[in-house]
């Protein structure tokens, strides 16, 4: 399964690269945009001796730490651009190596390898507005995955297609509509075949209305999504495989009065399923702020706070593989500064409080990372 996923992702990447290459030769106008190479070093601490169904090994420690080195890069190529349309290829890849400490059973050295490629086409539609269409492929591989509490998202391959139309303003209101389809294929190691249970298909639609202009905007939106877990049982003989439907309603406000950028949002979600166990209601508040400081420093802040309540109380593991652990909170704060025209540095601290498979049981992660970002040729 894993080989198949990686092969399909590699094929998709090769097709995209070939497309870029041929387009470059055909029009000789491809422009590389914002190529960034990143290196980083992190120190992280994890707390909470909690079982995890997706991690086959159990260790007796309730506190673990890790020193992490990472490298990554991203960039995009504008394959074709006119005042009315633009075709862009974006790629991002990274490698992260952990040196875990504090486990009783063994020394773990997990390694993550990730890659994303995206082909996007945007076009203005005369008399209608503008449309963005994207195809995104992402692959993730994890080796030597450790037990809890050092949680690392398992490996997977995903393909995602989306289309969004932004309509021309009607009485100063800008309407938009989006359609998203996604297929996610988890790649379980031999010792954890149940990760395959996470495989899912998603189809969602969203519509929104936005007011405001350059300095600020207010947007209300509503969406519906349908998720199919084709390998997960619903425990209902009449309808044996789990199928969820969710409705989201939210609002967001954005201020962009320079030099201050901020986005505040709140979303309510109702998740219903043919399996009663994962049915829940949730509220999610999101804040993203960016502001310049003296001496060319810049500060960024992201916070996502979630409250969730289940409709049914169950005595056993609630979030078996395939569940959305939305009842989590995370906060990241970053301070950055350019060192010269091509090099910038950032220090980021982060905190995560997330639910494991056992409902209402949480683990926490604290981390500090130093990044160096290199943008050649600026």
């Amino acid at each position: 399964m894993r080989r198949r996923v990686w092969r399909s992702l590699a094929r998709a990447g090769a097709v995209a690269a070939l497309l870029c290459s041929s387009a470059q030769h055909a029009e000789a106008q491809a422009v590389v945009r914002d190529l960034v190479l990143t290196g980083g070093f992190s120190v992280e601490s994890y707390q909470g001796r909690l079982p995890a169904v997706t991690v086959p090994i159990v260790d007796s420690t309730d506190r673990a730490g890790a020193a992490i080195g990472q490298v990554g890069g991203s960039g995009s190529i504008v394959i074709h651009a006119t005042p009315e349309s633009e075709l862009t290829f974006f790629a991002d890849a990274g490698l992260r190596q952990f040196a875990a400490q504090g486990f009783q059973l063994a020394d773990y050295a997990p390694r993550e390898l990730v890659g994303t490629s995206q082909l996007g086409y945007a076009r203005q539609l005369s008399g209608i507005g503008a449309v963005d269409v994207t195809a995104r492929f992402r692959g993730r591989r994890v080796e030597d995955r450790p037990p809890m509490p050092l949680f690392i998202e398992p490996g997977y391959g995903s393909a995602r297609g989306s289309a969004r139309v932004r309509f021309l303003p009607v009485s100063a209101v800008r309407f938009d509509a989006a359609l998203v389809g996604e297929v996610v294929n988890y790649s379980p190691p031999g010792v954890a075949p149940h990760l395959d249970l996470l495989d899912r298909r998603l189809l969602s639609a969203e519509a929104g209305a936005e007011w405001g202009g350059e300095g600020y905007s207010l947007r209300f939106y509503s969406g519906y999504s349908s998720s199919s877990y084709t390998r997960q049982s619903s425990f209902d003989p009449q309808d044996p495989y789990r199928h969820d439907q969710a409705v989201r309603v939210g609002a967001g406000v954005r201020t962009q009065s320079m030099p201050f950028l901020a986005s505040l949002g709140i979303e309510g979600a109702l998740n219903r399923s043919n399996s009663r166990r994962p049915e829940y209601n949730a509220v999610i508040a999101t804040t993203l702020v960016s502001a310049p400081l003296p001496m060319e420093f810049n500060v960024e802040f992201l916070a996502v706070l979630t409250a969730k309540s289940y409709l049914q109380q169950t005595p056993f593991a609630r979030l078996v593989p395939g569940e959305e652990a939305d009842n989590a909170s995370l906060v990241f704060l970053s301070l950055s500064r350019p060192l010269n025209a091509e090099l910038s540095a950032a220090v980021r601290v982060g905190w995560t409080r997330a639910e494991t498979e056992i409902g209402n049981a949480y683990f926490q992660r604290y981390g500090a990372t130093v990044f160096l970002h290199y943008r050649p040729g600026l």
């Binding site: 995009s76 990274g94 997977y156 804040t287």
Partner: protein, 337 residues
């Protein structure tokens, strides 16, 4: 007996049709003449044909170059007015007008650059034509000189002497033009409408110098405005890059994806829900992460455009100051006359 050319012409004029031996004889004579002209015609005749061809090519190239220079001057005048408009817009405090002035100036200076390139091309073509004409003239002179050494009649010698003198004069003209073009490095010529008039006295020259100095001050002001805009854009670019780095750092290794959460819905995507654009939309669009045809120009591209504009305005300012200094010097010189 072959029919001579004069006789043939008179017969034709009279409407008489020559008999076939006579016609055959006429063609034979013509053929012999043509063959002789090709084989034994003097080298000077062929060289003179080459001179004529090169002279035509040279005149065409010069006409093209003069047209390109005129167009360049017109483009420069328009660009200069657009630069002055930046200063006026900044003084008026109308930000929209200032932005329009930047865009207008950028377009006008781009036009100057295009026209400058066109003029450089025509200049190169003109140079090639000059050199080819020089070579043809030298060849002609050599052939005519050789021909003059052979014994000939007085009249023929006089004709040859006249031809040699004329070709030699033309060669000197072309060589002088070539020397001039070697010194010329296609210089940017600013403010074409303010020139020294032979009737200008010291007062007029000083007034023109003051006018030029005022233009230089306006250019200074425009450069300061561009610098402020560049500073603001650089700050905005730093911020966009910082946001992009921040988001990429979270998204790359799924740190925004919560345990067992959907890979398709991470925290950073939620942060974008506040708007179809998102607070980091310009940054993401620039990175190609979220494709959008708006805005048409990214911060990086805008900075690059403004830097090019600044360079042009600075060049213009230097040129104006040099011209003003020249006018003052002339004014001083004429006062002493």
């Amino acid at each position: 007996m072959p029919v001579g050319g004069a006789e043939l012409r008179s017969r034709l004029r009279a409407g008489a049709r020559p008999c076939w031996p006579a016609r055959l004889g006429g063609w034979l004579v013509a053929a012999v003449v043509v063959v002789c002209a090709g084989v034994v015609a003097p080298a000077s005749a062929r060289a003179q044909d080459a001179v004529l061809a090169q002279e035509l090519e040279y005149r065409a190239a010069r006409t093209d170059h003069e047209a390109a220079l005129a167009a360049l001057e017109a483009a420069q005048a328009r660009a200069e007015r657009a630069t002055v408009e930046i200063d006026e817009a900044r003084t008026s405090g109308d930000d929209n007008r200032l932005q329009r002035a930047y865009a207008q100036a950028q377009a006008r200076w781009t036009e100057v650059t295009t026209q400058d390139r066109r003029a450089a091309e025509t200049s190169q073509r003109l140079l090639r034509a000059r050199r080819a004409l020089q070579a043809a003239l030298e060849e002609t002179l050599e052939a005519l000189t050789n021909q003059a050494r052979t014994p000939s009649g007085v009249r023929e010698r006089a004709e040859l002497a006249a031809l040699i003198r004329d070709r030699y004069n033309r060669l000197r003209e072309i060589e002088a033009e070539l020397a001039e073009s070697d010194r010329e490095t296609f210089r940017f010529v600013a403010v074409p409408e303010i020139k020294v008039d032979p009737r200008d006295g010291p007062t007029e020259l000083r007034a023109k110098a003051e006018l030029l100095a005022r233009r230089a001050a306006q250019a200074d002001s425009a450069i300061a405005a561009i610098d402020r805009e560049l500073g603001e854009l650089a700050r905005r670019q730093r911020q966009e890059q910082a946001i992009r780095n921040f988001m990429a750092g979270i998204e790359r290794f799924d740190e925004g994806v919560l345990p067992l959460g959907s890979p398709g819905r991470d925290a950073t995507q939620r942060a974008d829900r506040g708007t179809t654009q998102g607070p980091d939309a310009p940054a993401r669009a620039e990175a190609g992460d979220s494709v959008s045809v708006q805005p048409a120009v990214s911060s990086a591209e805008r900075i690059s455009q403004l830097r090019a504009l600044r360079s042009r305005v600075e060049q213009y300012r230097e040129e104006v100051l040099t011209r003003a200094e020249d006018f003052r010097r002339r004014a001083g010189g004429r006062r002493g006359e």
